[in-house]
Subunit: 321 residues, 2 copies
């Protein structure tokens, strides 16, 4: 069987250009861009929890890196480096080759160098740490939202949760809608360009991974503000517009998670600049709510009539009851 | 049950002094010390593979961080930050409190700030990424060994493997020897001060985690040299000197692993400086071999008579056959 070192050499040791030293020593060496600082984030994906046994290895390699890069996007950081710790039940060469292909495909698209890692035997587990570079004064933190700011959302939420609902046979999507939603679920694209373009414009930002309401709740908490979301203004994909189960639609939009869109706040004075970013990047950015004083509190969702909606599920929590 | 965010808040979110931003945002923010670069390393510990189910949580918290810090030591880097990704079968508050106590005990001893992480449900798995700071020209890499250099070892190898042999009932250690060897196995202390003191002195370095011969093999490979180890010169602890099973002793010294000592090379001209470091830090540093041209090749071990010894096991490999 291939050794741990063979696995690293064959599948994960690639030459580095930006890092001072890559895979193959006790540590990798790197520095931030001149005048910038480093941003770091870690995510762990576990078989049976975040993905099913037998999941496509290439898609898994893509997604494992994507969910990490999404955290850099939410910070306005430029992706630079990643480390990979991988536990596998066996050294399946075909699985490893496909996983590496998915991971490096996304890494190359965003200029990420894999500079370190560890492989070991164990229940399948993928733990990635990403490192980006950002000017310290321009980092998009969660704690900068101010009363009077507007709440914005990139793209739309809910498609990944709709794909899950199909897989769980709660609904049945048509072929085109299913393909669209599965792509959102399996191979999300982190909003890196958007995060960097929002430097100096957004007052706070977060990526939507656990569900829109839950993630906006982190901004409310860290910024000590109250947030209001206007349900009717939430953008809906064609697949979601075609869904007749309004309770499911509400769940998908507000609490579905796995969206990897950016939710952010900005002053009304910055509205034209936000719209210019949307136009420049060819993205849909939608005003979906506002920020008020009196927090930190739960995120309130208002219906078209101006009444507070009762939200059944608020987002994903791995140890929630 | 406690939520994922409660777990982080209660057990792992501590104020940071050095980092610009710690736990609680999409990313943490940090910078190297002025004039220095960053060193990063990742290690993953899996239940059933690196530790037994039911292992003491505080010792596990200590060891999971220690094995990572040992990689910084081998690079000559000063420890600065860590991120923790943790999969747990359940949110056991008592286990978490003890794990955090062990981890933060060591972190505080070495000035490490926990700046990010992820907790999720799954088979118990601990993945830590550590980040240190080092002047780029003084980093102790694996690729700097030169023909004519001497090979040095800190402390002695074999005690952790001897503790394992006792646990596996291959031998029976007395109480004092067992306590000593178990401490080496369960709560290793990374050689941080030594690594930093060897900046500008050692020509290459590695930490001994997989076994002395296997780890020196990495220096031979990366430096494209041949290494010779003189078996009779290898320092032995009192516990190992008392062991009558010479085959086991050889395994422990050369291939036991889990030692977290530093093996390094230095020019004979640097001998006095190495000895001064040993004296200043109160450590034993022993010359155990030499470097010659003609590599990269396997590490040769010579007996007292100058004959090449046949080595049965060469070190630990998670996917080795």
């Amino acid at each position: 069987m291939a050794s741990e070192f063979d696995i690293i050499r064959r599948h994960f040791a690639r030459p580095v250009k930006r890092a001072l030293l890559g895979v193959g020593d006790d540590c990798a060496l790197f520095a931030p861009d001149p005048g910038e600082v480093l941003a770091v984030s870690t995510d762990m994906l576990v078989e049976g929890q975040h993905f099913l046994a037998g999941a496509d290895a290439a898609k898994l390699g893509h997604k494992a890196l994507a969910v990490n890069l999404s955290d850099l996007a939410a910070m306005g950081a430029a992706p630079r480096y990643a480390t990979l710790a991988l536990a596998l039940p066996d050294a399946d060469e075909s699985w490893l080759a496909q996983f590496a292909q998915g991971l490096f495909g996304l890494a190359q698209a965003f200029g990420v160098e894999l500079i370190g890692g560890d492989t070991t035997r164990g229940p399948r587990n993928i733990s990635i740490t990403v490192i980006g570079s950002v000017p310290p004064a321009l980092a998009l933190r969660r704690d900068g939202a101010k009363a009077g700011d507007e709440v914005w959302l990139s793209g739309c939420t809910g498609d990944a949760a709709l794909a899950l609902a199909h897989q769980q046979r709660r609904i049945r999507l048509g072929d085109a809608a299913l393909a669209h939603c599965l792509a959102r679920l399996d191979t999300p694209v982190p909003c890196i360009a958007l995060g960097m373009a929002l430097r100096g414009i957004a007052s706070s930002a977060i990526d939507v991974s656990d569900g829109l309401v839950a993630d906006l709740g982190h901004i409310a908490e860290r910024s000590a503000v109250a947030l209001e979301l206007r349900y009717a203004q939430l953008p809906r994909s064609r697949a979601l517009r075609a869904c007749a189960d309004e309770s499911l639609v509400q769940h998908c939009l507000l609490a579905g998670g796995d969206d990897y869109e950016l939710a952010f706040t900005a002053s009304p004075d910055a509205r034209a600049r936000v719209e210019a970013v949307a136009s420049e990047l060819g993205l849909t950015l939608t005003r979906v709510g506002g920020v008020s004083a009196g927090g930190p509190g739960p995120v309130s969702v208002y219906d078209a009539g101006g009444n507070v909606m009762k939200i059944e599920s608020r987002g994903f929590d791995h140890f929630g009851s």
